[in-house]
């Protein structure tokens, strides 16, 4: 007779025991984060915006691109013939403002995540290499960073997008490629201190190759500050995305964007105040949520970090 196989419960228990130091650390971190009420509030705001963006077609009964010239520039709370209410009113083409704001979260978040992924990865790699190897490589990358910082960024972005033509990929790549500096600097300064620590020296003494030391021993220790920078950078990217759409250089109509709606609303500022007011509030609330969360994350993970 074969011995009975360990039950699923026992296996899970064993796994848990194995993973517990790491998990306990994470739990402690989450508990500390949860104690910061503002950070938690920020996270909730971001989560709500995210859920609304993903579930946009199910959240609102209105089609954000459906025009109805008969009911243009209706004030907030106005109802159409069928009795359906435009909670935030309609725009100059009779489109429901609330639906457009909800759908407008999509390009904002999409550009935010994608651009942060690009610049974050780029900055991480350059910062690791720069800090670990130092010398000539470091000089070149840091001078490159100075040059990058010497540019009025938004001007460069509109120039490049103006030449290439505005489209989602162009916007993402332009913002992504030009935002790596903060990541690289933070990661680099972290690496500078990590590479002098005993465990890295021990790895050297054991004959490990540089690439392996970087990936296995240095990289994991830089992820905390990296995450803080990425969170706060996301807020900046969303503002830039809406600024570009405000200038007509973002995702093109008929896709609703917060910046584009603001630009439309600006024309009707003296007759329909709600057109420019609500999309701006949407940007403000989203960015504020991310900033609150980012600040809390920074204070919880690494209070000394100045970003």
């Amino acid at each position: 007779m074969t011995p009975p196989a360990p039950s699923a419960g026992a296996r899970a228990l064993a796994l848990e025991a194995h993973a517990s130091p790491v998990r306990r650390e994470w739990l402690a971190f989450l508990r500390r984060l949860a104690r910061r009420r503002t950070a938690l509030f920020g996270l909730c705001v971001v989560a709500v915006v995210f859920v609304l963006a993903v579930g946009a077609p199910w959240v609102t009964a209105w089609d954000p691109t459906e025009q109805d010239i008969g009911s243009r520039l209706r004030a907030p709370g106005a109802a159409d013939e069928a009795g359906r209410v435009h909670l935030l009113g309609t725009d100059h083409l009779g489109r429901d403002l609330l639906a457009r704001i909800i759908f407008g979260a999509r390009p904002a978040l999409m550009v935010g995540f994608a651009a942060v992924a690009i610049s974050g990865l780029l900055g991480l790699v350059l910062g690791l290499v720069s800090g670990y190897f130092g010398g000539r490589v470091d000089d070149v990358f840091m001078r490159l960073a100075d040059i990058q910082l010497a540019f009025p960024f938004i001007l460069l972005a509109i120039a490049v997008i103006g030449v290439l033509g505005p489209s989602l990929p162009v916007i993402i790549v332009v913002i992504g490629v030009s935002s790596w500096v903060v990541y690289a600097r933070v990661v680099r300064s972290e690496v500078l201190s990590i590479r002098e620590r005993e465990f890295v020296q021990a790895a050297h003494a054991l004959g490990l190759r540089d690439g392996r030391i970087l990936v296995r021993h240095v990289l994991p220790n830089t992820l905390t500050p990296w995450l803080v920078v990425a969170t706060l950078d996301m807020a900046r990217v969303i503002v830039i995305e809406s600024a570009l759409s405000f200038l007509g250089l973002g995702v093109q109509p008929p896709t609703p964007t917060w910046g584009g709606m603001l630009a439309d609303g600006r024309v009707y500022i003296s007759t329909a105040w709600w057109l420019a007011t609500f999309p701006g509030l949407a940007i403000l609330v989203t960015v504020l949520g991310i900033n609150l969360f980012g600040d809390g994350l920074r204070d919880t993970l690494d209070p000394r970090l100045k970003v």
């Binding site: 001078r143 490159l144 100075d146 040059i147 910082l149 010497a150 540019f151 009025p152 960024f153 938004i154 001007l155 460069l156 509109i158 120039a159 490049v160 103006g162 030449v163 290439l164 807020a235 503002v239 809406s242 600024a243 405000f246 200038l247 007509g248 250089l249 910046g259 603001l262 609303g265 600006r266 500022i269 003296s270 105040w273 420019a276 007011t277 999309p279 701006g280 940007i283 403000l284 960015v287 504020l288 900033n291 609150l292 600040d295 100045k306």
Partner: protein, 305 residues
């Protein structure tokens, strides 16, 4: 002049060289600058001739060398739209932009430094909470929205201030507040955290123990040390302000470099775009050089590095 400043000067020149390369490269992004500069209905022969006269058939580095030579003499070619030298067109608008950015910076410093100091000195007081919340809001608010809301309240509803144009002090108020808000928020938070850090240092405790009390400790001992990160950020914020002028000037129809470059992009007037990006970047680099010189005064340790 110390070795540090010499090195810093060389570095600035290097940065400007990089700037010039990127500005030059903008036109070559699509692969063919002739197609970017000419109207879409140009014939194949037009394009060929244009390439020849502009020297677009030369090797890349030769073209860059020519561009750099021109840029050093302030020659970026002629504006396609206005038929004037592009650089003159941009230089003409620079004072307006500097006026706006300068006013915004003044507002920011005048509000942020006292707010930051009071917040730090009276930590966790009502003043501290209000200023912290306002700073956080200011940092999260898109400038273009603030600009539109200010127009809505002060121009459309209250009829107090003009919503566009340049001329009197009244014209300057709304754009300068709009442009300065983000910087105000940033500097407030930085001043607060910088002061908090310094106020906990041993030398402040020593000063207090020796009987120096109240305001002199804050002003003479703490602020000079807390000023170092503030001065750095002022240099960087000026870049933000110069870049931000693009949007603020567009909203308020302020006749500066920012608005000109947005219009130039809409009109595909690239010599003007190149001249504008180059001029604003150069301004920024020079300001940061000055900031670094100030730095050596505030923090003598740097001179010996």
């Amino acid at each position: 002049m110390s070795a540090y400043l010499l090195r810093r000067l060389a570095q600035s020149l290097l940065v400007l060289l990089g700037v010039s390369f990127v500005v030059f490269f903008i036109l070559h992004l699509t692969g063919d600058p002739a197609l970017v500069l000419l109207s879409p209905d140009a014939t194949a022969q037009d394009i060929q001739e244009f390439r020849e006269t502009m020297g677009f058939n030369d090797p890349f580095l030769v073209q860059y060398g020519r561009f750099l030579g021109g840029a050093l003499r302030g020659d970026f070619g002629r504006s396609v739209r206005h038929d004037e030298p592009a650089f003159a067109l941009v230089a003409e608008r620079l004072p307006a932009t500097l006026e706006l950015a300068g006013a915004a910076l003044l507002i920011a410093l005048a509000l942020a430094i006292p707010a930051g100091i009071v917040s730090a000195v009276r930590r966790n007081s009502a003043v501290d909470y209000v200023s912290t919340v306002l700073a956080l809001l200011g940092q999260s608010m898109p400038t273009f929205w603030l600009g539109i809301m200010l127009i809505l309240v002060f121009s459309v509803w209250l009829h107090l201030l003009p919503s566009s144009g340049r001329g009197t002090l009244e014209h300057l108020i709304l754009p300068a507040v709009t442009l300065g808000l983000f910087t105000t928020a940033r500097i407030t938070r930085l001043t607060r955290s910088g002061m908090l850090e310094v106020l906990n240092q041993d030398y402040i405790r020593t000063a207090r123990a020796k009987g120096v009390a109240g305001p002199p400790v804050v002003w003479k001992h703490a602020l000079k040390n807390a000023a170092i990160p503030i001065v750095t950020i002022v240099g960087i914020e000026l870049g933000t302000l110069l870049g931000g002028s693009v949007i603020t000037e567009t909203i308020f129809a302020w006749p500066g470099v920012g608005r000109l470059s947005v219009q130039a992009i809409y009109n595909r007037d690239y010599p003007v775009v190149q001249a504008a990006v180059f001029l604003l970047s150069t301004t920024f680099v020079l300001v940061n050089l000055v900031v670094d010189m100030l730095y050596t005064y505030l923090d003598p340790r740097i001179r010996f590095r």
